[in-house]
């Protein structure tokens, strides 16, 4: 039944010269649920594929036929215009048909489960579901009940793999390599899916990871993953090659995890003054949407160290790469009479 292309077929149109060695068959997955499951080779395969797709964005005609005839559904049980738009655009550039479905989980609770919703959508014809959900594991659960390929576009505080991948791509592009770098994740680690995907990705690619923030937002247990946990930003600043400034998830706070926004900013906001204490080539990432004046000052957000806009364009390339790689693992489209 497998219509999976060989490893060589898996390469995107623009990848590899004629004299390059055949790539090992690294991509065999039907779903992208998280970076924890992925091997270093699989992560690199996505990043390399994304590099070749980023070239397409610079063409005048920004479309390739890779997903022609495929239907991609964005199933968003939580609002995120940015991520949804990025996935939609990525799918359209691969010539897929894209359909959005948004619902608040609360409106589903009148009997219909989100699994029912997904099954209904699948019955309309769907090859790939991009799923954003407030509960950890919801995409994993869905992957057991539908036959579409699932991309986790953020499941609660668990993972956001494409964000992790685009952060890795951004770091790799700016620094040439990820291995050996010291990367700090700053802020609300406890409630951040971006942090979890970043941690797995960075560790697998050989970076040193420092988690920094107030103890109520930075679980000590994370040390067991092989990260350093630090509470004082000043102490770690001089060692960092990259600082990934995470958003304070006001909507996820159960309250009382830090005394006030003002106090948080006093200790953890990236300011020009703090940037000056770091290495001269410090790279600052911030997965949007950012709270200017809370996690970082406007000058830093728009300054020369900031890679925020690169992240957005790399996000598009990474999502094209993921859609492309998974498309080889979808069931074949039924023949049309």
């Amino acid at each position: 039944m497998s219509t999976a292309p060989s490893a060589a077929d898996s390469r995107p149109p623009a990848a590899g010269g004629p004299d390059s060695e055949p790539a090992p068959p690294v991509w065999t997955r039907k779903h992208l649920l998280g970076l924890e499951d992925l091997s270093r080779e699989e992560i690199l395969a996505v990043l390399d594929t994304a590099e070749s797709f980023s070239e397409i964005s610079n063409r005048s005609r920004k479309k390739v036929p890779a997903l022609q005839g495929r239907i991609v559904f964005n199933l968003f049980f939580e609002n995120s215009t940015r991520t949804r738009t990025s996935f939609s655009l990525a799918a359209k550039r691969l010539s897929a048909d894209v359909q959005d479905f948004s619902a608040q989980v609360s409106s589903l609770s009148k009997g219909e489960t989100f699994i029912d919703t997904a099954k209904n959508i699948e019955a309309m014809g769907c090859d790939l579901m991009v799923v954003r959900h407030p509960t950890p594991g919801a995409p994993h659960l869905l992957s057991q009940h539908v036959s579409s390929s699932i991309i986790n576009a953020g499941d609660g505080a668990h993972e956001h793999p494409t964000q992790g991948l685009l952060d890795l791509m951004t770091i790799r592009r700016a620094k040439g390599n990820v291995e050996g770098l010291t990367v700090a994740l700053l802020g609300d680690i406890a409630h951040s899916r971006v942090a979890r995907s970043n941690i797995w990705g960075l560790l697998k690619l050989g970076a040193k990871v420092i988690l920094c923030g107030p103890p109520t937002l930075v679980p000590k247990a994370m040390e067991r993953l092989g990260c350093e946990v630090a509470y004082r930003l000043e102490d770690v600043l001089p060692r960092c090659d990259v600082i990934n400034v995470l958003r304070i998830q006001f909507e996820r706070q159960q309250g009382g995890l830090f005394p006030s926004v003002g106090e948080y900013s006093q200790f953890y906001m990236m300011t020009q003054e703090r940037v000056r204490k770091a290495k001269p080539d410090l790279l600052i990432l911030a997965p949007g949407p950012i709270n200017r004046g809370v996690e970082l000052t406007p000058e830093v957000a728009d300054g020369k160290h900031s890679a925020i806009l690169n992240q957005v364009s790399n996000g598009l390339a990474v999502r094209m790469a993921v859609l492309y790689l998974l498309s080889g693992k979808m069931d074949a489209a039924p023949p049309v009479d």
Partner: protein
């Protein structure tokens, strides 16, 4: 009633420190002193263990109110299939069991079902609201054998103190679901490394430990009987051990999932691993087993918590807590406590029979002559695969689906009546009597 002869079995009765191959005679629904004139029914128990009927002091039967999950009849049938002849059912039903009438309803439904014996546990507080004492005396009149607000703890220390004091007049036990709720808000699993990895809300072990410590102290100052339900943390086990050493009237129970599973199982995001108290760490599991070995924990039970499939088939934070347990209690005990050598058969059966009977003051859990003939005949060596589709419970929410396990209840008698058997060992020798 037919006279029954159970022949050639290994009789293990912890209430008499008995472990020997012998025949057991049942006359008029009671254990007989010796051979009767002639048996109407002969049960060939060679190679099998003949034990007092197992008693589960912690089950949820969902009736009244949530009959789509379980009814008293299906729950009691599930008990029998697991070798359990008596169950004490928790009062967190809709409405809760907080009056004489509701307790009597449970007793009546249990009698009608004619499966395992069903004993209601009454609420500690009116409406399980944790504000004022329920009518404990009236509940006793209605058949209640203990009190608990299980499903949630009695959070108010003043109310808990009064409950422990007041219940002394009946010498009945207050069962407590130990949890400081302020520490578990939003929690779906144990708080620790695994919850951090998964981004799931955690329930710290300390939430249990603190309540256990508080209540042991309250039992000490009141002289009341405190029973710690579904103990799950290393520190809580230590606290109970310490309390006993100081002569405080505290007992504890443990469930199979807390000595056979750890919190890393949640990596599958399968709601069949979501229970409350949650699955803990390997260290906690080791401590629970240690507590079972040294007697700090004297009771094994299930916290049988049936939920219909559509309720469990939800996102992890939406799915309800709890798993069914009656039909896997015995095999998981055999596979995880007896076979590895943590407990002998007689030690394990003590926690499943006489200790449980004494906790809830019922005249069961023994094969002494004259006792009600509740008997569980166990095949100790059979190996089988847990298949939830075969469960007698209405619900299928088990974490043990597909597990290969050892040991199974083969034939079960209640009041001298064969109410469950896998077949093949029961033989009618005289017409007239009619085995079930």
């Amino acid at each position: 009633m037919p006279t029954i002869q159970i022949t050639g079995g290994r009789i293990i009765d912890p209430s008499q420190e008995l472990d020997q191959i012998a025949d057991l005679w049942i006359v008029d629904g009671r254990i007989a002193d010796g051979p009767a004139a002639a048996a109407d029914v002969v049960v060939d128990a060679r190679g099998l263990i003949v034990a007092p009927g197992l008693i589960d002091v912690h089950v949820h039967l969902r009736e009244p109110g949530q009959e789509d999950d379980e009814t008293i009849a299906t729950g009691a049938a599930s008990a029998l299939a697991g070798g359990v002849t008596s169950v004490a059912c928790m009062p967190n039903t809709l409405p809760p069991i907080d009056t004489q009438a509701t307790a009597e309803f449970v007793v009546l439904q249990g009698r009608r079902a004619r499966q395992a014996n069903v004993y209601p546990v009454g609420c500690v507080s009116k409406g399980r609201k944790g504000e004022e004492l329920a009518g404990l005396g009236q509940l006793v009149a209605g058949g209640a054998v203990a009190f608990t607000d299980d499903g949630s703890p009695v959070s108010n220390a003043g109310l808990m103190r009064r409950a422990l004091e007041y219940s002394k007049m009946f010498d009945l036990v207050i069962m407590q679901h130990c949890q400081v709720m302020e520490l578990t808000v939003g929690g779906v699993m144990n708080e620790g490394f695994e919850s951090m990895r998964l981004g799931l809300g955690g329930m710290p072990a300390a939430a249990e430990d603190i309540m256990v410590a508080r209540d042991i102290r309250l039992a000490e100052i009141t002289g009341g009987r405190l029973h710690i339900q579904h103990i799950s943390t290393a520190r809580a086990v230590e606290l109970v051990r310490e309390g006993k050493r100081r002569g405080i009237r505290v007992t504890a129970e443990a469930c199979p999932h807390h000595f056979s599973l750890t919190d890393d199982r949640l990596r599958t995001f399968d709601s069949n691993f979501k229970m409350n108290p949650p699955l803990r760490t390997a260290e906690d599991v080791a401590a629970v087993i240690e507590g079972l070995k040294d007697g700090a924990i004297e009771i094994l039970c299930t916290d049988h918590a049936p939920h219909a499939r559509e309720k469990k088939m939800r996102e992890l934070d939406q799915a309800p807590f709890g798993i069914v347990g009656l039909e896997t209690l015995l095999p998981i005990t055999v596979t995880h406590l007896i076979e590895p050598g943590h407990l002998s058969w007689i030690e394990a059966l003590r926690k499943l029979t006489i200790n449980a009977a004494r906790l809830i003051n019922i005249p069961k859990g023994t094969l002494k002559p004259g006792a009600d003939a509740d008997v569980t005949i166990i095949d100790p060596t059979t190996t089988w695969t847990v298949d939830p589709a075969q469960f007698r419970s209405k619900s299928r929410n088990t974490p043990y689906a597909g597990w290969e396990v050892r040991g199974r209840a083969h034939t079960v008698l209640v009041d001298g009546e064969i109410r469950h058997t896998l077949g093949g060992i029961v033989r009618e020798v005289r017409s007239g009597g009619s085995p079930a």
